[in-house]
Symmetry: C2
Subunit: 519 residues, 2 copies
């Protein structure tokens, strides 16, 4: 089981099928195999040795996927850089991973200039955009045209496939080491769970550097399905791509779903009838948003997948049948689903012991999909993966049917007057308020309570409301101690590259110079 395997299979079974579709540019599997073998040859010519890390900093494109397959084909290791990171953070991941080669598209040339100004790093930059190649950079198409194809290096099993830097929302970035077997096992298990089938067409709408999109595309890649791309998410771009490529499957994070349903006029302009399945995840979704999304995309299966970079990314799946009107009666919609077909999931206490059903603890996951470890961080790896169990840092409880309910990042838990408050619960209530567009709930310092519950709200356009109104709305619905003691209104919330709300940024002004107690 290895990432280049599906290319061999597709070449054997359907060489003339379109593998990649990006705007007007189509690439068959036969051509893809040739280009991948040449790209691998070119990278080897540039000095890539077995196990060397080659980075990319680019928007979504067909060439991004060629990079994903071409680097391991040539014996190298991937490092898909977070496009939302600063030049300093990108530089950190290049230095930390020892990347000597970086692929960059037009959008991120300024970042590369900034990096170069700081000391000629990385030494080799390949320009994979469609604009003119700047002086000093190598042209992607020219490299491919001039290189001789090389055979697949045959990396497989526990060989390192890629480093996926994570930690945008908390602490120092960590390079998560994902093996070939891990990503394949996760993909195969998701395929077995119905997240694809032969003939599906996958649209890359979420950023490709992120393991969520990477993992979902792997499901389709195993099947030999066509992949379609939009450079970056926009309601217009996604709707147009679905129509053009007859896309059937797409992964969206809740903020993207929100933007789509907020633009019914865009959806109405396009034929979206090919769409069969929206997989969502990466952060919790409010029931209300899900309702709106299901109304906007009638007949489309909604499937929730919960996971994280360290799990390649599968932990649990909540299948479509629990989302339908009939299925909702089973009461599992608010869950993140249950263990996928290659994973084991437990809720454990601080000592790693399983807690009783209904009790909140930490989600722990075991399986072939667990990362190989954190790059150059053996102690952190040993603390995180114990006896094969990846300790996720997410708080959840499990019901009698094995469904887990994520209550919060453990670090996001607010301890107020000795009571635990899970911000997701408060956010779910606030989201039901007719004036609330989006919101985040954090703990802020309180002399009296240690922490107190604070809500940050983006109101809907033209909506008039007050903090008192918000607090009263919550008090009617949840325990007093869980309700916000203060509310602030803002124009927008800061988002991470994966579309998660950056709670660290929100907390920062309140906690400067203080130490926050987290479990």
């Amino acid at each position: 089981m290895y990432l280049t395997q599906p290319l061999h299979r597709a070449l054997q079974q359907s060489p003339d099928k379109v593998a990649l579709s990006f705007g007007e540019r189509k690439t068959t599997f036969r051509t893809l195999a040739d280009r991948v073998a040449r790209l691998a040859g070119a990278l080897r010519g540039l000095g890539m040795r077995p196990g060397d890390v080659v980075s990319i900093l680019a928007l979504n494109s067909d060439r991004y996927f060629e990079y994903i397959v071409g680097v391991p084909w040539g014996g190298g290791v991937l490092n898909p850089c977070n496009i939302r990171w600063s030049a300093a953070e990108i530089g950190y991941s290049l230095d930390d991973s020892g990347s000597r080669i970086l692929l960059v598209d037009d959008a991120f040339l300024p970042v590369v200039e900034k990096l170069a100004a700081e000391g000629e790093r990385p030494p080799i930059v390949v320009h994979c955009g469609d604009g003119p190649t700047p002086a000093g950079l190598l042209g992607y198409e020219q490299l491919i045209a001039e290189a001789a194809p090389v055979p697949d290096a045959g990396r497989r099993g526990d060989d390192l496939l890629g480093l996926f830097y994570t930690g945008g929302t908390t602490g120092t970035p960590k390079g998560v080491m994902i093996g070939h077997r891990s990503i394949y096992a996760s993909g195969l298990a998701l395929l077995a769970d119905g997240l694809g089938s032969p003939g599906s067409v996958y649209l890359h709408a979420a950023p490709m550097f992120h393991i969520a999109d990477f993992g979902m595309s792997c499901v389709q890649w195993i099947c030999g399905n066509t992949q379609s791309f939009v450079g970056a998410f926009s309601p217009q771009g996604v709707a147009a791509a679905i129509e053009r490529d007859r896309a059937t499957h797409v992964l969206l994070v809740p903020t993207m779903i929100q933007m789509l349903v907020d633009h019914p006029e865009v959806l109405a302009k396009h034929d979206l009838s090919s769409l069969a399945c929206i997989v969502y995840g990466a952060s919790p979704i409010s029931e209300k948003l899900l309702d709106r999304a299901m109304a906007a995309f009638p007949g489309v299966d909604f499937i929730q997948a919960y996971g994280m970079t360290e799990l390649s990314p599968l932990a649990t799946v909540c299948p479509a049948r629990y989302h339908t009107a009939e299925g909702r009666k089973l009461g599992k919609l608010r869950s993140a689903g249950r263990a996928g077909y290659c994973t084991e999931v437990r809720i454990v206490d601080a000592q790693g012991r399983e807690v009783p059903r209904g009790t909140v603890g930490e989600v722990a996951v075991r399986g072939p999909n667990v990362m190989l470890g954190y790059w150059n961080k053996p102690e952190l790896t040993a603390r995180t993966v114990r006896d094969g169990w990846m300790h996720t840092g997410d708080g959840a409880y499990m019901d009698d049917d094995g469904f887990i309910y994520i209550v919060d990042r453990l670090k996001d838990m607010i301890i107020t007057g000795g009571e635990n408050v899970y911000s997701a619960e408060v956010e779910n209530v606030l989201a039901q308020h007719p004036a609330v567009g989006s919101c985040a709930v954090i703990g802020v310092p309180s002399a009296e309570w240690g922490e107190s519950v604070h809500a940050i709200v983006v109101p809907k356009p033209d909506a008039a409301t007050t903090a008192e109104d918000m607090i009263a709305f919550c008090r009617e619905r949840i325990a007093h101690y869980k309700c916000p003691r203060s509310v602030e209104f803002v124009d927008r919330l800061p988002l991470s590259g994966a579309g998660k709300i950056l709670k660290t940024s929100l907390r920062e002004p309140y906690w400067q110079g203080r130490e926050r107690q987290v479990s």
Copy 2:
């Protein structure tokens, strides 16, 4: 990925669901987990150490499945004995595997008596039948009742799960070492290919000692589905079990399908409407028989799976869509399908080089499902598995879409006058003759041609035909040199435990004292 993993998952997700149904006896997952943990404890009490082989010689039953899960749970290794083998062959596998414990049901007590008479082997015999336990044997239910449960030993990955002795049709028996990961990867890939889904009910109709049934039940086991059992195949027993347990999936070898369609009166007596999928394999099927079967089971998906013990057992799958009236137009029905989602398949020459499409060569398969090797036969293992590729000994060609067409066991190829004749091709023609019930084609010694083509035919009841008629029928349809030069009529063909026609037995009278040249 390990064989006991689905039990942990089912216990977490659906403890009160029926796991095993055998006649009136139902076992929930909760009870199964308790019984498995006690069986493991009992076996440990009898001296089973980690990696020790525990054998079983029994017809299908719920207890057989408890053995399959209980032995690895306790740290042991399986050896499911071929129920068609002689006492001498069983004795060989017990000795070769070093089994000190044997489970036996009522049907095979005479074999155990014979073994015991030859020297007290194996030392410990557990009686798992429903009749009275004979003196000197241990009672299965009593062992379970008295044993303390033990925790799962946690064997996984490349740990040895079981020895599956094979070679009934050719040569000395070989213990095929199957690892935990191998069987799980094969099952997961078959699940991803649509051979099961949550809620399916699997009927064990084929013998459980065989990897074909073992592998198919693993697909359902991963899903946490109910398993139903018939002690041994009979049209009546299978039809009754489908009706009673609302079975949806069953694996049948062609000889079993033949027996079912030959008894329409049995099928008519039962409600078989739950049946959704018949997986067939283990030997080629004639188009005519498939036609009859599809008429007898309207609306049922037919899926062909091709594989072998050494592949746990998946190699290729020919999905249902190629079997329908519409799908047949694609012309893939005669194929064995194409590479499953965890396998790579190539057709290679004697030097292991891939041959051009359409050229007959040997089927070679690579993937996580390949066996760990032959037990105590490192040289044979090295000859058979080269650079990760299992060389199957089966002859086939591949078409432009990656579908493979098994032409024959390479050893079954007949070389006559320098021409290669694949017996399956001749058999497929003969099977179309209205007077032919079943048939086998072998090579017999010929002074003139080296070998000559010889057909052995079981005529249909009351059918009158002649050898000349058979030969003329073939000459109208295939090249002269492929047609039988001689035909003999018999009452029945000798079958192996897996339902394969025993060509070695058929050849024996012709080849006694001679050496047959095989590639």
